[in-house]
Symmetry: C2
Subunit: 473 residues, 2 copies
Amino acid sequence: MTASPPSADRAPAPDVDVVVVGAGLSGLTAAHRLRQFGATVAVFEAAPRVGGRVSSAEVAGVHVDLGGTFVGPGQDRILALADEVGVSRYRTYAAGRNVIRWRGDHRRYRGTVPPVGASLLDVGRIQLTLDRLARTVPRGNPAAAPQAANLDAESLGSWLRRSHASPAARELIAIAGRTTWGCEPDEISFLHALHYIHQAGGLSSMLDTEGGAQEEHFVEGSHAIAVRLADALGAALRVSAPVRRIETAAQGVRVSTADETVTARAVVVAVPPALRGRIDFAPALPPSHAQMAQRWPAGVLSKAYAVYERPFWRDHDLSGQGLSDTGPVFITFDAGPAHAGAPGVLLGFIGGVYAREWDELAPAERAARALSSFADLFGPRALDAIGFIDQRWGAEPWVGGGPTAAPGPGAVVPYAGALAAPVGSILWAGTETADRWTGFMDGAVRAGERAALQARGILSSSSTDHEQTGVVR
Amino acid sequence: MTASPPSADRAPAPDVDVVVVGAGLSGLTAAHRLRQFGATVAVFEAAPRVGGRVSSAEVAGVHVDLGGTFVGPGQDRILALADEVGVSRYRTYAAGRNVIRWRGDHRRYRGTVPPVGASLLDVGRIQLTLDRLARTVPRGNPAAAPQAANLDAESLGSWLRRSHASPAARELIAIAGRTTWGCEPDEISFLHALHYIHQAGGLSSMLDTEGGAQEEHFVEGSHAIAVRLADALGAALRVSAPVRRIETAAQGVRVSTADETVTARAVVVAVPPALRGRIDFAPALPPSHAQMAQRWPAGVLSKAYAVYERPFWRDHDLSGQGLSDTGPVFITFDAGPAHAGAPGVLLGFIGGVYAREWDELAPAERAARALSSFADLFGPRALDAIGFIDQRWGAEPWVGGGPTAAPGPGAVVPYAGALAAPVGSILWAGTETADRWTGFMDGAVRAGERAALQARGILSSSSTDHEQTGVVR
């Protein structure tokens, strides 16, 4: 698209305008927008499939989302992209009462705040304090928060202890943290937790179903968005093609897999932060970038789906949403299809300390334990599944874990700046680099769109430099 | 060496008995011992030079150790190896008084405990408590310590605050931590800090010059040990040859670089934990191994050497050992040659928070700041250096940082077991996998020797399986 008449005093034209590394939602969005801008792209994906942390499967005839699933209000970019590619959505089933197993007790409740007894006031206090502190952390620039170094020096867990949070409040936050970051409260920088909460619009927006980030999911599945973007790329997309090396040259970049080398004016690296470390950069990345890749590990989250003849819990005025203070499954949703008469689907999360044990178990043992957790919450009928599947994100070599990076104490102030800062013609995408909804599908799309705009900037300046007349402006 | 008569009912003999990945001190030791056992080896090193975190340079005609430098009592394996390859050692200059700049004040003192005023008693209390707790952590198995999960849940920094350590005690521990782990106290798991201290024989043994781990250094330089081991390997060693992929097959392993594939009965991976993540393993490593590689980042430590016409500080009864509560250089040693009349050499460490800033500076700025730090401690004559060199370990792509891995809170109990546990025929070396003197050159040698013994075990069992009559037993 930026092809221009040959000229003796200029380097040969690159093979494409922009190479995108990683065909997750973020990289695919970047490539899609760049093509809309009139740029040519090549997209390399290490895994044999596209989607990254968005994936799907069919179990007993029912589609399930193995990775990113839900969307909610304020997640405008993923919603717009889904509309654009024709993937529709429906409301997460949330009618009736929720279930909680707590301290051996089994209760039903309505709304979002579980009945944890006398601790309820304390849960409210902790939530309010977290929300208030979260708003002090500037989105996209956590190091600029007041007292940033102190907030980064401790973990969420250490802050909870220091704030004399009740055991129930600590445990509820731990459950939220396992689902959100795939780690225990002691593993995550308190500054990062606050920044994340702020980006998601506060704890309620982050955790709620109705009015929150779990409000809707996609009829065709979230993976359909990735697949449609990938299909449109055609031959510009290579899967099973891990990028080994990115060299920066005077005129742009050279990106190499084991089999081919492609030159471009810019590259968008859209992989989780830890996986940046798998690529050889020449010249080497600045130390802060290289060190960041060692200090923003992916969390550990697994998901389990059980499919039933019908959503029997709905008959008992239960929403399918459950919470448990024991594992392995500690939080559940009704993830069943929208139409009446459809099979029932329970989705359970296994994260943090539970996921580490889970990920090493044999498949049959994992199924037995998950169904047992479902039965603890919804009764013995939950054992009669007609289908079961789980997904261990921590066992995926080209993803590294899920749902998102969980930096430990001290890793945010010195290194958050390296997440999205361009290094010459090397640009960065992936949900961790977003300044809104980091960790969510919406963050992935936002980051991809931002990287596409940055790449367009490089293309238009190099067009000017070379007096080209391409359509890229 | 294990060559055996061809047989129709057996897989083809592998190219070598054992492949070693990484020609640092640990990998080179493994290869050296395996050859002594009669095994054939191939050693791949990603960088253009051998030595890993041991390196050297000449400045103004003087040899300096850019990486691992000192050795001390109890470090029996590095001492034995050095003797074996004919590298000799001499005592670190420590005569006279040490210098401390503290709270704007400048003092001289003898011995190892700096005069930090009324806080001195508290420093002693903290040190005693650390030593006592360290002894409760079993060497090589920190997860088995009493209260291991609680010790792992917090950082060294959080423990210091919770123990109401005085600011002086906290700062002295921070200085020790920056030198030892290349990080701030808030970044490192308290359990790991204790385990490390225990492995090093206690804080005094770890930090002291006389009678401690800084007691001696090598006349020919520590790097000479690596070079002599490498020279003996001849064509069995390839440098500039990053290993990309390790496949486990029925009969052993296939290890591939961009240019060649070598088959072997076993592989010893002797790279820092974070760099394990750069290799594709097929089948994928167990989740705990893969996740560990994301959670044991290398610290950030840089070293600066200034060379002077003569060691002028010695004239003033100064040892060259200095301590400062400001950076960038916060601890110094006289690293000069043993013989009288030789030039003077000051070695300064820049670690943790100081190293992050330092590593991004231009060379001239780094030199100016280091000399200024030396002058703060030893007077303006320290500005008159005839030579200067520094080494930024955090900027080395095939090392990733230094001096050793610094796992954050929560990364030890679930993941320390993955450091040294074999995965089939894949064995692990590197100083982080040692059960004594982890983080030191001695730990690297111990780990290499342990891996060589493990590999010998695999060779002798596969010899038996195949009725071979090789010399390996």
